[in-house]
Structures are given as structure tokens and as C-alpha cells.
Subunit: 357 residues, 2 copies
């Protein structure tokens, strides 16, 4: 049974009348209504845990823009928290996970998650958002990649140079493997639960894969993702295929390896030409991306021009989901997002032979 | 006349008995003696401007480690400052360049530099360091790339998302080109003056080239560097060739374009396999790099193992200068640097058929 939604069709490389678009971090601080909801919730984690408010902020960008998919509003760090690593957000400091996981003894503190129980608020949000969407566009669920989640758990928060996890990678690779194994299990269980509750596609965010050498990337970032892809349910409760998107930032050089992972879609950042990436992917996966988020700082006319150039670089082939190459900046003008969504739809309709504009 | 120093020989792809090594930011905060000199100078810019102290900190790592090159101690931002953009370093905030350059009117404030006059303290340092080195190892001069310097001048300091310069890139590319033209002239004059005063090789640091899409990288980062390479004096006052090294962080995908720039050496970060890079470079340039700086967090045994793997990946070909893929971290243990330098020398001697260890 072929899906009807352009986003899901493009993920499966089926023909579409126009290229679908969604935007990483589309529910976010650049929207005044998001800032109001966040103010209402108090702090960021309370917003994630509040079903009506998490539903509301997920829906906000869809009311403004003609986007082709919604993405669950949540945070990648709810998984380490559910595994037993305390999480808080300190003002101006980003996330703090204390005490961090740095030894075999620390690993004993990690528990196997039961997503329905430990992350019930996420499952409630998935169900509630599906209801609010009323099948107008599909819902994307997501998780951080094991490597990316491990960086936070082992460093105890954000890092620029990753001294602890990289020290472990080079000196105690077996210990790191143990932690990644636990994360593979947790992320697979978590995404499968999201699928059970109605997520129609899932994306794995590998934000920090680009910090690794090629060999370390394959062993510690890509291989755990590949094992998750293997464990995921191929279809949702409605019998529809649930495509899997892998997004490894800064890993254009690893494209052939990502393509071979078993995923349906590879997300690209903007440092690679999408036309060349399409040739290298050789029709084996769909591609998502990959406009420089900073193009949105330019005027609506230039935004349209850049969108057209990117669509033409991919060409009139199936399997393109338009997106930015990274999350939208909090200081972005929402009107520029409207210009982008409109440009992608009208320019791609022309490209696919269906447009008049 | 062939140079005798292994570093210069490797830059020109001449045979060497062992692979030369230097380390980006080798004169830096990870050394207690550096921190003492910095304390003596007061602030960072005073350290750059003080000839005896700039000489002292340049020499410090050479006293500890058997490094094959010295690099001038200075900062890339002295060029924008000399062009008329006020520079200060605020505690914990990084560099501040105020008021920034954002309009055609602002560009009028930029003046053509006279390196001998405006940057006399750099030229004094070059001469003084050459004297202190006594021809034991060669001295590398350096500059930031026009694109990288422009990011600071236009953003007014460091940035993560580059809203101002990227807005200009997409909306007013002609204005950005004007600024980059001025920087091409300034950087070429500056590096030629360093060569006149005794720099035996020069490196252009393109720290932020990796923030650009491939098309924008070629137009706004690589092309200005190519024009500088064209303008540089091919030989120093002693008649020796002065090799040019281009280091564009995060630009492994652009390797073929970098190779075609006319430079002698391409510096690589650690996200590319140096063996594959060598094949892609096809003998047209030497390669510098590219160990993950985080390997130095590991034990001396693992450091040796990683150094050997990297040397073997490059193979027994001429034209490899060992380095980290980025500057050394301030929290690094100096003993681990000693282990690396020793490993590179002994392992590469074996590889080149000259070793016993």
C-alpha cells in the first residue's frame, strides 16, 4: 500500500508532484508563539513533559507554513535521563548530566528503559499530536544516535573537544562499546514505542558524528545506528512502512557508508552538493536536505533563488525531501521561512512538470 | 638548491629519512612555561607585541620536544586590527572587533596595511625567532585566510552561525567580494613581509571555510586564497623556496579544489583518511596532518599505535608532514606530546627504511 503523503512518498523514492519540505527545529525559539508556550511551561523539560503544550508547539509551525511533516517536540536527552543519568538545563550553560558515566562501575547505574513507563510523556505526546494532525501531514518521531547521546552522558554535558569520551574511545574501546550497546537497545526500544504510538517515520540525529575520524565514525557512530535500523519495526500499526532517516552532521565523506546502513533516507548538511551526493548514493536511498540554514538570513528573492538552485542540483528524480542542513537558528525571521516553503513548493512543482508558477 | 630541513623537504615532496612533525598551537596554554610568559606579558595581545616574550614562547615547545619546525607566535586578528578594525580580547568572551564592517561605508574605514610599519612587532618577532632558532629547524610564518578574517571583521567577533557575513554573502556578494579583495592584498603583503624577514614557509589558516556550502567555499574562501598564493614570493632572501600550506578545516570534500590552488601543501583535519587523501591528491601536493587531537588524551602506548596507523596509511611516499588535524587542546598533558613526537620519528624511520626501533 503506497502512502499518500508526499513526505512519506519521497522517503520511499516514490514519485511526487512537488518536493516535500520540513525544517529541523521547526518548532522552536524563532517563533514568538513558541516562546510564549515555553514561558507558560516554565523550563524546557517541563515543556517536553506537558502533553498539551508539547502538542501545541509541534503544531505551531504547521499553522504558519505549509510544511509537509510535523516532528515530535522533545529532546534527545530524555533517553539518558530515563536510563538513570540525572539531567538538568542550567541557564546559559546548556544541558548538565551529573554524575557522568565514565567507568565500568558507572555503567551499572544505567537501567534498561521501559519506554511506555519511563517515557510515557513522549508516548502521550505522539498520540496527542497524531490526533491534532488529523492525518493532514505525517508525524516524524526521533532519537539521538547512540554516539551522540554517549557524548553527553560521558562528558556530563556539551563539549567542544570531547576529552572524556575520546580518551575512552582510544584507551578503553570495550567500555565505550558496552555503553553504546546499552544505547542501541534503549534507542531501538524507544523508537519502536514511538512507532507503536503513531510515529510515521523516525529520524536519528547524529549531531556529533562529524567529530570522529573515518575509522572511529564507522565503528562508534555508524555501526550502532546500523544495528538500530535492523531492530526497528518496518511498519506502523496501520500497516504503512515507517521510513528511517539517518542524519550525521559533518559526515558527507561517509555518504557511501551511510547509504549501506539499511536506512531509507540520508540527511545531509550543507557542506556537500546534493547533486553529487545523489550520484554517489546511486538511487539506493532518498536524500534529505540540504540548504545552508544561513540562506534564511538573506532576502526572500535570494532564498527562492537558492532553493531553486538546490532543487535543480538534485534534479527531477524521486527521493528528495527538502530541509535545511541543520536546525533553524533562533534569531531567524519567520517570514523568511514562509518564503522558503513557498519557493520549494512552487519551484519543485515546475521541476516535476506540474507547476504553473 | 634543495633544502636540508626535513620539514621543508617534505613540503616540496623530497625524500626524508623520517617524517617531520610540528603541532598546530604547539606554543600554547598546555605548557606551564607558556602560561608563565603570558602572565608576565599581562594580556594575550601584549604577549604577541613583546618581541622577547613572543620569541620565548615560540621556542618553549622546541626545548621540550624534538619538533621539526617552529611557528611564529602571533594571532590571525592582528591583520584586521592593522587595517583599522579595533580589536580586544574580553575575558571568557573571545575576540571583539568593534565597530564591525557591515556596509560600503564601513569598508571606507579599512586602510591598506604597511606590514613593516603597522605590524613591525611581527616582523621583529620573525627576525628574533630566526636568530634564536640558529637554523636548527625552519620557521613557519602564517596568516588567517581572507574568508576567516572577514568572519571576525563582519560578525564583530567569533560566531557559530555567521548571520551577518552569510547574509552579506547571499544578499550583497559584491560587497563581500570588495572586503575579501582588500584582505587578499593585506594578507599577501603581510606574508611577503614575513618571508622578507625570514619566514621559511607560510601557512594560511582557513578556520571557518568548513562553514560554507561547496559553491560558496570555492568563491569566497578558496579563490581569495588562490590569489594570495599567486602573489607570494616563491623564494626567501636566502634563495630557498618558501612552501605555502593551505589549511581549510572541515573541507575534506574540497580536496581536489585545494590541490589545484597552486599551494605546495594541503593541511587536513582528522575527518578524512590520509591514505585516501593522498590518492586523491595524486602526487600534486604534500599533505600535512591529520591525527585527531583527542588521541593525545589517550595513553602513550595508544598514541604510538595511532601514529603508526596514520603513517602507514600515508605510506612510504614523500610529501607527508605529521601534525594534528587541529590545534592542540589547552588541557593536554605535555608528556603525551613527547610520546607522539618520539613515536612519529621512530615509526616513520622504520617506514622509510632507516629505523631500528
Amino acid at each position: 500500500m503506497e502512502p499518500k503523503h508526499p513526505f512519506l512518498r519521497a522517503c520511499l523514492r516514490l514519485p511526487v508532484e512537488r518536493t516535500p519540505i520540513w525544517i529541523m527545529r521547526q518548532a522552536g525559539r524563532y517563533l514568538p508563539e513558541y516562546r510564549a508556550s515555553r514561558g507558560e511551561a516554565g523550563d524546557f523539560l517541563s515543556l517536553c513533559r506537558n502533553t498539551p503544550l508539547a502538542t501545541e508547539v509541534t503544531m505551531q509551525p504547521l499553522r504558519r507554513f505549509n510544511l509537509d511533516a510535523a516532528i515530535l517536540f522533545s529532546d534527545i536527552l530524555v533517553v539518558p535521563e530515563a536510563m538513570g543519568v540525572p539531567l538538568r538545563f542550567a541557564t546559559g550553560e546548556g544541558p548538565i548530566l551529573e554524575p557522568p558515566i565514565r567507568s565500568a562501575d558507572d555503567v551499572k547505574r544505567l537501567r534498561r528503559i521501559e519506554p511506555e513507563k519511563d517515557l510515557d510523556y513522549v508516548m502521550n505526546a505522539v498520540g496527542s499530536i497524531r490526533e491534532a494532525l488529523d492525518d493532514k501531514v505525517p508525524l516524524i518521531g526521533f532519537s539521538g544516535s547512540p554516539w551522540t547521546l554517549a557524548t553527553y552522558m560521558i562528558e556530563g554535558g556539551s563539549s567542544k573537544t570531547f576529552p572524556n569520551i575520546k580518551g575512552m574511545l582510544y584507551d578503553q574501546p570495550t567500555l565505550l562499546d558496552t555503553i553504546l550497546d546499552r544505547l542501541v537497545e534503549a534507542v531501538a526500544d524507544y523508537l519502536n514505542a514511538q512507532i507503536d504510538h503513531g510515529a510515521q517515520a523516525v529520524q536519528i540525529f547524529d549531531t556529533w558524528g562529524g567529530a570522529l575520524s573515518p575509522k572511529a565514525y564507522r565503528a562508534f557512530s555508524l555501526e550502532p545506528m546500523r544495528r538500530i535500523v535492523e531492530k526497528l519495526k518496518p511498519t506502523g500499526p496501520d500497516g504503512q512502512r515507517v521510513p528511517v532517516i539517518l542524519f550525521s552532521k559533518g559526515c558527507g565523506g561517509m555518504l557511501e557508508h551511510l547509504v549501506a546502513s539499511g536506512c531509507d533516507v540520508v540527511g545531509l548538511d550543507w557542506t556537500i552538493n546534493i547533486g553529487e551526493a545523489r550520484k554517489r548514493a546511486n538511487g539506493a536511498v532518498a536524500l534529505q536536505g540540504n540548504m545552508d540554514p544561513a540562506v534564511l538570513y538573506a532576502s526572500p528573492d535570494r532564498i527562492r533563488e537558492e532553493a531553486r538552485t538546490l532543487l535543480e542540483a538534485y534534479g527531477p528524480h524521486p527521493g528528495h525531501i527538502f530541509n535545511l542542513g541543520h536546525g533553524i537558528s533562533p534569531d531567524m525571521n519567520p517570514d523568511h521561512v514562509a518564503a522558503l516553503v513557498d519557493a520549494v513548493h512552487s519551484e519543485s512543482a515546475r521541476l516535476h512538470g506540474n507547476g504553473s508558477s
